[in-house]
């Protein structure tokens, strides 16, 4: 029965793979972009609208299908909002939660426009399809039409959050372990989020950040949401004055 048991070498390799996985997947990486347009630093007492975060978390079934979970999504949404609020606590800006006014067609279009622009930035900035016209600059903008939001809500900035996550079911974890034995690696979960800060006077996206974490961070839990938001809010011009000063 040659090959019907593991050699010591195979077992060592397996342990290495599993432990590497654990190390790699516990990390949070961020990628910050700030506008290359001329931009005034936020004045103290700036009013910020936190647009209701778009969060969708799923369960990974044994075979890898992703099944959306409403309870996890809502829970993570609450945790993320709480963490963002914590971020702004003790800071001289004012953060206000804002849910979309569906009766205001112009507002709806602005939010949709942001979604389109945000996805375009993601695609061309982070998914290896650089646009020649955006080389060496980050001048994305929703245009001055956003000023109606500033007027209607007496606000200076809008903060958008978009987060997705997937978590392995017990069956999936078992599958992953079993397949790892057979030498096949499968995903047991991942989380990604982006945040975008729009200047409501000019429409410019003044700061845009993408965060990716491995399965070791779980935004369904307060500690996981804290790590994700910490990575997500990295170097933002509203709550990171000290960082900015330290850098310049």
């Amino acid at each position: 029965m040659a090959g019907s048991f593991f050699t010591l070498k195979q077992i060592r390799l397996l342990i290495l793979i599993i432990s590497m996985g654990a190390v790699v997947t516990a990390c949070v990486t961020s990628s910050v972009n700030t506008t290359s347009n001329s931009h005034e630093a936020p004045k103290s007492g700036a009013q910020i609208l936190l647009i209701q975060p778009d969060v969708e978390l799923s369960l990974i079934t044994a075979s890898g299908l992703r099944e959306p979970r409403a309870d996890w999504s809502k829970q993570a949404q609450d945790l993320i909002i709480a963490e963002i609020e914590k971020n702004f606590a003790g800071n001289d800006h004012e953060l206000r939660q804002h849910s979309l006014n569906m009766d205001d067609a112009h507002e709806v279009q602005l939010i949709k426009l942001h979604e389109a622009v945000g996805n375009t930035i993601l695609l061309h900035r982070f998914f290896n399809q650089p646009l020649p016209s955006k080389k060496d600059k980050f001048d994305w903008s929703l245009g001055p039409g956003v000023a109606t939001l500033a007027d209607n809500y007496d606000a200076d900035y809008a903060l958008f959050i978009f987060a997705r996550g997937a978590y392995a079911s017990a069956a999936r974890q078992a599958t992953a372990l079993v397949l790892a034995v057979a030498g096949v690696g499968v995903s047991t979960g991942d989380q990604a989020a982006f945040a975008s800060l729009v200047n409501l006077k000019t429409g410019d996206i003044v700061w845009f950040n993408v965060t990716v974490t491995g399965s070791g961070v779980d935004m369904r839990k307060p500690s996981g949401a804290e790590s994700v938001v910490k990575g997500l809010m990295k170097d933002n011009p509203l709550t990171n004055h000290t960082n900015d000063k330290a850098k310049s």
């Binding site: 029965m1 019907s4 048991f5 593991f6 778009d54 969708e56 799923s58 369960l59 079934t61 044994a62 075979s63 890898g64 299908l65 099944e67 959306p68 979970r69 409403a70 309870d71 999504s73 809502k74 569906m102 067609a105 709806v108 279009q109 949709k112 079911s169 017990a170 069956a171 078992a174 599958t175 079993v178 397949l179 034995v181 057979a182």
Partner: protein, 400 residues
């Protein structure tokens, strides 16, 4: 043997792996035998169904704010009223009907109660009864929770196909792994037909209970099959269509015969046509124009001829048929178009553009004087026409 001192886990890794995999996948097998959803019920957030609703709620929010939705209050009230007649008062509150500006014959039902009715369907339905049957069919998908069943089926199938593909790979038949996937797809397809059949039957019962004429259920499909046979697209003629209702609602003779047989056992009833025509008539020209954007002249002609036979809105319909000929540009089409513009001009409901196009067709045929009369009539009928200056230059080329 040294082996016998190894823990059992390491002795037969492959067999154990398959066994473990099989048991985890089987354990996660969920029941696809779900009872019908209760009226005014919403699933628990912590369930697969709750997740499906969460995602479809977001899709619905997008749809609500989309320009693709027809918002005319009279038309929306009418279609929603027909839907409620079919669903009964309890379930009526669970459904939200959106009229979507799409030139294809289709309707769809999302698991959370978002129903879409495409304008291509309203254009082709001959009466309220045919519309009601489709709405009843879609409502049955909702009530029977077909999306949830389909999702669970997919989940179970993919778990099973995982076992199969790993098993096949382990047995040294790597290429056979693909078979597991193909089998899963085939089973899913079969399930979908089963759901369609159930919706046909239940939808029929709902619509008959609401007092509609039983024979109209099969008539909708008969019409669609006849239209597809006349399509200019060979693929559509052959496969009875992509991007249309047939992709998701495969029409088989068996399904049509099933509906015919059910209707034959019941009193015929009288289809309700007047109210349906009154509310859809204002949209006829717009929907026909959208249909023509598909540039399927064969099926557009078939549709227009069918509507002409019905004998309503003839000014709009002859004008439209002329437009089909004008755009088709086959030999002799200018003459056919001209004849139809001229016929349309005898009806009060012909749109002003009929005279502009008639002028163009006359000019092409070398009848300059008659063309000028037609263009002048166009400007009389549409004094604010955006192309007024252009038309005036035809009437008076020297600018005198």
């Amino acid at each position: 043997m040294l082996n016998r001192f190894k823990p059992v886990l390491f002795r037969y890794p492959l067999r154990l792996a398959l066994l473990a995999l099989g048991s985890t996948a089987l354990m996660s097998c969920v029941s696809t035998d779900v009872p019908p959803i209760e009226a005014q019920a919403a699933p628990d957030d912590a369930t697969d169904e709750g997740g499906i609703w969460y995602v479809t709620d977001k899709v619905e929010k997008d749809l609500q704010t989309s320009a693709i939705v027809e918002r005319d209050p009279a038309l929306n009230d009418y279609v929603s009223t027909v839907a409620c007649r079919v669903t009964g008062p309890e379930y009526c509150k669970d459904l939200r009907v959106y009229i979507v500006k799409q030139p294809y014959f289709n309707a769809s039902m999302a698991p959370n109660g978002m129903m879409q009715v495409w304008t291509g369907l309203l254009l082709r339905a001959e009466n309220e009864d045919q519309l009601a049957y489709v709405l009843g069919h879609e409502f049955a998908h909702y009530r029977q929770r077909h999306s949830l069943k389909q999702w669970r089926q997919a989940k179970n199938m993919s778990n099973a196909s995982l076992i199969f593909s790993v098993g096949a790979a382990a047995a040294g038949a790597g290429a056979a792994g693909v078979l597991g996937q193909a089998a899963a797809l085939a089973r899913l397809y079969g399930f979908s037909r089963e759901a369609e059949r159930e919706s046909d039957d239940l939808g029929f019962d709902f619509f008959v209970a609401a007092g509609y004429a039983p024979g109209e259920a099969a008539r909708t499909w008969e019409y669609l099959i006849a239209e597809a046979a006349e399509s200019s697209s060979r693929r559509k003629r052959k496969s009875v269509a992509r991007a249309s209702v047939f992709a998701t609602h495969p029409v088989t003779t068996e399904r049509v015969e099933n509906l015919q047989a059910k209707a034959a056992a019941l009193p015929a009833g009288t289809p309700r046509r007047e109210a349906f025509l009154a509310v859809t008539k204002p949209f006829l020209q717009q929907w026909l124009e959208q249909d023509l954007t598909l540039r399927d002249f064969g099926s557009s002609l078939f549709l227009t001829n069918t509507l002409i036979e019905d004998g309503d809105a003839l000014g709009v319909l002859y004008f439209h048929r002329a437009e089909i000929y004008r755009l088709r540009r086959a030999d002799g089409d200018n003459d056919l178009a001209l004849a139809d513009y001229q016929t349309a001009s005898q009806y009060d409901d012909a749109p002003p553009e009929n005279w502009r196009q008639m002028g163009d067709a006359l000019a092409k045929a070398g009848k300059t004087d008659e063309a000028k009369t037609a263009w002048a009539t166009y400007l009389e009928k549409a004094p604010d026409a955006p192309d007024r200056l252009l038309i005036q230059s035809y009437l008076d080329p020297d600018g005198a």
